[in-house]
Symmetry: C2
Subunit: 131 residues, 2 copies
DNA sequence: CCGCATCCGGGATGATACTG
DNA sequence: CAGTATCATCCCGGATGCGG
């Protein structure tokens, strides 16, 4: 798993890198783990959005968290931020090619999660009643 | 994206659920976002492991975090935990079918991350020097 | 060998208020 | 409209030590 490869030594490197490091995984997982990232990417995958639009689409997000989320996505190159110097200013967010590629992966996760949800919940209940 | 579906209202529900909820996403992302989950699953995808084996495979993990990580994976049904009542006891961890399915998704993430890593780092540097 | 208990710091998140 | 600033809170994760 984790892509085909040959292990000359017979030792399997689970992450697939000789350095036995975490590859660039943290780089990606750090974003993925944050509360609003996936929902924000999902929202933007439907098309460019302005700040308030985005906020309305993300039920319960605060302005602070929205700003932080899009900033970090911008920093990692998932999202582009375009400012129109009108008055009042208009800021539009849009997925970059990398963002769209990321969205495709995230989409699989979403679909998988939707299918597994009831079973995971059942597992938790079973585990909790055992303990 | 996020699987094909029709939107009767013309309104796109980014997460794909009428409830405009986060689907079962949090359920999955809560695990995925945790620091050792993916590496642990990767390790176990190479085969069953005993506690210490697992720890040796996960460079830098503390016992506390290892225990927490496998417990939560067990609770959600990704991992099965088998105790041999020997002396001293022997505990073996192994991926369940759900765990293997999850590992396949995580594997895509790992591969994607490995490819994108240098570009993401470059994006960060560019962003940081702009600000 | 396997795992739990306790203490602790830092980052993630949230509530609220304010600004060009 | 599109953010900052500030304060409070929570919990992950690390360090350490004990127990079966």
């Amino acid at each position: 798993m984790f892509a085909d490869r040959e292990i000359a030594t017979g030792e399997l490197e689970p992450c697939g890198l000789p350095e036995h490091e975490d590859c660039g995984l943290r780089l990606v997982l750090d974003r993925l783990g944050e509360r609003w990232t996936v929902m924000t990417v999902a929202e933007l995958s439907a098309g460019p959005r302005r700040y308030r639009e985005l906020q309305r689409g993300l039920d319960g997000i605060t302005q602070r968290m929205l700003t932080l989320t899009v900033r970090r996505l911008e920093r990692d190159g998932y999202v582009s931020r375009v400012v129109e110097p009108t008055n009042p200013p208009s800021v539009t967010y849009e997925l970059t090619p990398r963002g769209k590629s990321f969205a495709a992966i995230a989409g699989r996760l979403v679909d998988w999660a939707r299918v597994e949800k009831p079973f995971i919940e059942a597992s938790r209940r079973a585990f909790d009643s055992r303990n």
